[in-house]
Amino acid sequence: MKFSEALIGARSQIAWIAALALSTVAIIHLERLSIGEQEAVQRARVAATDARLAAEATEALGQAEARLAASPADAAAAASLLVALSNAVEAGVLDIDEGRRRADQLWELAGNAGPIWRPGIVAAALAFAN
């Protein structure tokens, strides 16, 4: 049997295979669109949350700086600033290098620190890890 004759005989099956392949591609595409929509919603939600957190982090950083400026020897104020710096870096309102530089200035106060400093040190370690 000639190839062309066999091909004609197999037309329906080839059409079936093509339909299967195309529909699979279509379903994957549609599913991805659907997944993409869900991701966009999620991203928008996260973005809204991020903006709120950024504002709060900026405000908290300002308050902690003001408190330490008012009481430079207050270990609790220094620890509070360290945590605020860490949060600001995490929230993306402060560059990590700038945050690390300013945090370094606070380590001198850590000498007489106690349990007050521990959470701040851990938060800074996490924020400035990279």
């Binding site: 049997m1 066999a6 197999a10 329906s12 529909s23 379903i27 549609l30």
Partner: protein, 612 residues
């Protein structure tokens, strides 16, 4: 022109070794991916929230997969015995040097009941013209179960033997048994009333009988009156004039010739004879299909005698037990035992061909089970006879119901799969045949489940996600590619559609057999019945209607923002439903089909014209 228009048989598929290797590679990959898919289905994708809906589908998928394994084994290879040179004499086919070296004697049987004697005459004339390269004696016999004087007249006019009997016990099988009692040829050619043997029938087939264990050779049943359908350009030109004709020609230039209404009853048997049956040769499991087969008389009679002796013995023992129970004696008197044995011998029928609606396959099983003699069979690929197909849905239904009911009846009453005698490959091959007739049990699920999804949103799998596609698509694609390679040269889609569409008929046959109803022996009509047979396709119509309604309902709901359909599930079930509709449409079309007077009738009526 298609081969249906030219009225020529199909070309035998001859695949190269590389081609076979490709088919076997793809088939193996398909089965492995299928197993992986099913494993995932059973272990990770059942929907426990709707287990009543989920479980039947996975069971149906598993059963269908088992069928696929069996079918793959069936068509794994086309390794076949090759015929030797045409035998000169009887000695050449017995392998016994003491056998006389005389020309072979061939009996050609034409079994008839109520068919037009003029149809039979064409076959008788053709049988008298059979070629053979050596001296041979061909004796042609009309086996008329209708006891009709006009049939006797035709036999006399043609100078052939006329055999009839006083009753119709066993119908066709009984008719053949009676003929064997009145004849003595070394080999027997079985023809139906509408069979026209071609001149090369004996030269093509007798070479196989050089093997003294070759019991029969089956040849393809080629229906030469299959309606060829109307060419697409002609059909479009009839509806839309010259523009339509032009569009049709353009379409044909792109995708090749298209014939609308070609083979409306899916009768073309190429797939069965050239692939399914022929590829059982390696397992020595090609069964006899009746017309177009050549049998060694010795094999048929010897197996019949053995079976008869066994049955007599069973009957004798039963009667002895009854006598012992009645008399309370441990030993039965010797003279009484002798009389009982004679009674048992008279009680049991001696029959070369099993008196059964599927006498051909039943007789084949009996021969294949005779391990001691190791009888062989072969499906010869070359078409050496032609016959008439059932060209209306009523005749088609009668024929297919007989096939299904007869085969399932053998499975119930005399299951050969676990009986002694057959080899494992033979058991598997017969298993494929029996198993295929159980398919409506899972096909019903495949037809109805998308309908339920579309109306309710219920999902039979845990999720129609990309994970689902990842598991099912490789399996489906590989399966399709494997079949494309394995059946290259044949049209498979038509067969698959009819296989699915036959579900009500097969369920009916299954139900009749389960209730132990006798499957009757009606003769398949040789004349076309005019009419619409929508009542025969009412279940198919119902499924198509429900599928269409479900599709409209689901998409309307989804596009309107309602429903709980996932897009993946909706698309997948839409494709599934559309596939079901396309599979059921051919049989619905066949129910209302009328032959085209320009293209179909000349082909279908050529036989009648020849007769006239």
């Amino acid at each position: 022109m298609t081969r249906f228009e030219r009225q020529v048989p199909w070309q035998i598929s001859r695949h190269s070794q590389l081609h076979h290797a490709l088919w076997q590679f793809l088939a193996t990959c398909s089965l492995i991916f299928g197993a992986w898919y099913l494993w995932w289905r059973w272990t990770e994708s059942l929907n426990f929230a709707a287990l009543w809906f989920s479980l039947p589908l996975v069971v149906a998928e598993t059963l269908a997969y088992i069928g696929l394994i069996l079918f793959t084994i069936n068509i794994w290879t086309d390794r076949s015995p090759q015929p030797g040179p045409s035998p000169h004499s009887l000695r050449d086919i017995t392998g016994d040097p003491l056998t006389p070296e005389r020309p072979l004697v061939i009996d050609v049987f034409f079994a008839t009941y109520n068919e037009d004697p003029e149809i039979v005459r064409k076959g008788l004339q053709a049988a008298k013209r059979l070629d053979y390269p050596h001296p041979i004696e061909v004796r042609v016999h009309v086996l008329d179960d209708g006891r009709r004087p006009p049939m006797g007249d035709v036999a006399r006019e043609e100078g052939v033997n006329y055999i009839t009997r006083t009753d119709n016990v066993g119908y066709k099988a009984g008719n053949l048994r009676n003929a064997m009692n009145h004849t003595s040829g070394d080999l027997i050619v079985i023809c139906d009333a509408d069979t026209i043997p071609l001149p090369h029938l004996l030269t093509e087939t007798l070479g196989y009988f050089r093997d003294p264990r070759m019991a029969w050779v089956q040849t393809p049943q080629w229906f030469w009156d299959v309606p060829p359908g109307v060419p697409l350009p002609v059909m479009l030109a009839r509806r839309f004039g010259r523009v339509g004709g032009g569009v049709g020609r353009a379409a044909e230039a792109l995708i090749g010739p298209v014939r609308l209404g070609e083979d409306p009853f899916g009768n073309d048997p190429q797939l069965f004879y050239d692939f399914i049956l022929r590829r059982r040769n390696w397992a020595n499991a090609a069964f006899c299909c009746g017309a177009g087969s050549v049998h060694r008389r010795e094999a048929v009679m010897e197996v019949a005698l053995r079976t008869w002796a066994t049955d007599v013995d069973v009957s004798f023992q039963r009667q002895l037990d009854e006598i012992r129970q009645l008399t309370g004696e441990a030993e039965v008197d010797r003279r009484l035992a002798t009389v009982t044995r004679v009674s048992a011998a008279q009680e049991v029928d001696f029959t070369p061909f099993m008196l059964h609606v599927s006498e051909d396959i039943y007789t084949s099983i009996r021969l294949h089970k005779d391990r001691e003699r190791g009888w062989k069979s072969v499906q010869h690929p070359v078409v050496v006879s032609r016959m008439v197909s059932p060209n209306d849905l009523l005749s088609w239904t009668i024929q297919r119901f007989k096939y299904a009911g007869g085969t399932l009846d053998i499975l119930r009453t005399d299951n050969p799969l676990f009986a002694k005698g057959m080899t494992l490959p033979q058991r598997i091959m017969y298993g494929v045949t029996f198993y295929s007739y159980l398919s409506p049990l899972w096909n019903v699920v495949f037809l109805l489940w998308p309908v339920i999804f579309l109306f309710t949103g219920l999902v039979p799998v845990a999720t129609y996600s990309i994970d689902f596609l990842l598991h099912i698509v490789p399996f489906l694609l590989l399966n399709e590619l494997a079949q494309l390679a394995g059946f290259w040269g044949a049209k498979t889609m038509s067969g698959r559609r009819w296989y699915l569409a036959m579900f009500p008929l097969n369920i009916q046959a299954l139900w009749a057999v389960v209730r132990k109803r006798k499957i009757s022996f009606p003769v398949t009509p040789k004349q076309r019945s005019e009419g619409r047979f929508l009542s025969l396709v009412k279940w198919q119509l119902l499924v198509v209607g429900l599928s269409i309604a479900g599709l409209i309902w689901a998409w309307t709901l989804h596009l309107g923002g309602g429903g709980t359909y996932s897009i993946g599930g909706l698309v997948a079930n839409t494709l599934w439903g559309v596939n079901n509709i396309l599979s059921l449409m051919p049989i619905i079309f066949a129910a209302v089909w009328k032959p085209d007077p320009e293209f179909d009738l000349p082909i279908m009526e050529r036989f009648q014209h020849e007769v006239q």
